[in-house]
């Protein structure tokens, strides 16, 4: 099936790699006009190349999502270029491994919260008015199973991702009635450059596959499939929900 996002305009933060890149590519194939938003400009350019993008159907923007001026400029730029904004995917995040809570440096806490929570807040803050001005839209926030479980390898990351889930709930309670559906996904382990880089060694990464009910972690494309559905009109009655997508790992752990 193609054309599921025909003529929709989407901003994808974190579009330079991993899950964000897979979403950009999938959205492009489904007919969306895509703004690839990231601080990693080289990666964002590579995403555009992989999308076979033209200036008519895609663009990129260098944005620090914890800076309100830059976020407002990103949203205004998308509307100016493509005429509207229908979809926002909040995929940008940082994952810094930390020791247990007592030993966590305040600076790492602030850095993580500014990107992972404040960044999502700001993107929603500026995107929602652009969506309501045009009848509504769809926002998908990328949380993590770290925000559901008490995962210990990064205290600020886990708490920030829990914050994204609740931000989704609160925002949906306030803007669904204005036509903006706001949902969240919580992926488990996904084979991305971030996950490989944050796993201590190749052996440790292989171990994550072995301990999984499906014998493997997920792929970025599999995550993009769920995001596509939530962003599309097929999910027209879905708002305020968080979807776990972890290949059954959480179910098996309970």
């Amino acid at each position: 099936m193609t054309g599921r996002l025909e003529d929709k305009v989407a901003i994808v933060t974190g579009g330079a790699s991993g899950i964000g890149r897979a979403i950009c590519q999938r959205f492009g194939r489904e007919g969306a006009k895509v703004v690839v938003a990231d601080r990693n400009i080289a990666g964002a350019e590579e995403t555009l190349t992989l999308m076979d993008a033209t200036p008519e159907n895609a663009s990129m923007v260098d944005v620090n999502i914890s800076d309100s001026v830059q976020v407002e400029r990103m949203v205004n730029g998308a509307v100016t270029k493509f005429g509207r904004l229908d979809i926002l995917i909040n995929g940008a995040a940082i994952l810094i491994r930390t020791p247990p809570l007592v030993e966590v440096d305040e600076v790492l806490w602030d850095l993580t919260m500014d990107t992972n929570v404040k960044g999502v807040f700001l993107c929603c803050k500026y995107a929602i008015p652009a969506m309501t001005a045009n009848g509504g839209g769809s926002i998908v926030n990328i949380s993590s199973m770290s925000g559901v479980r008490g995962v210990g390898y990064s205290v600020p990351y886990a708490v920030s991702k829990a914050g994204v889930i609740h931000l989704t709930t609160v925002a949906a309670s306030q803007y669904t009635s204005q036509g903006v559906r706001i949902n969240c996904i919580a992926p488990g382990g996904v084979d991305t450059p971030q996950m490989r880089g944050s796993t201590a060694s190749a052996e440790a990464f292989a171990g994550r596959n072995e301990g999984h009910p499906m014998g493997r972690v997920g792929t970025a494309d599999e995550i993009a499939n769920l995001v596509l559905w939530l962003a599309s009109d097929e999910a027209s009655y879905v708002s305020g929900s968080t979807y776990i997508i972890d290949g059954g790992a959480w179910a098996g752990a309970q």
Binding site: R39, N40, N64, S66, I96, R97, Q194, G197, S198
Partner: protein, 79 residues
């Protein structure tokens, strides 16, 4: 210089932090309260060193890489 080495050490040991430095050096410099000279070193030659690191640096290699990058920083700071 100690703060610059602290940043580099963290970036060697943790890929996520390294990305925060690579794509937000000015922000990191502000949060660590680096001097103008230190910030310039971070966004220039130190960033180049961090960009060239393996992903991830294997745990056994972290101390040696940290020592190597710290030596580079000390060398740069002596000018």
């Amino acid at each position: 210089m100690d703060k610059l080495i602290d940043i580099a050490n963290r970036a060697v040991a943790d890929y996520g932090f390294r990305q925060a430095v690579l794509y937000g050096a000015a922000d990191i410099a502000r949060r660590w309260d680096l001097s103008e000279d230190e910030a310039a070193l971070l966004s220039g030659p130190v960033l180049a060193e961090l960009s060239a690191l393996p992903i991830p640096v294997q745990p056994a290699d972290v101390p040696a890489e940290q020592a190597r990058v710290a030596d580079v920083i000390r060398g740069l700071s002596s000018f």
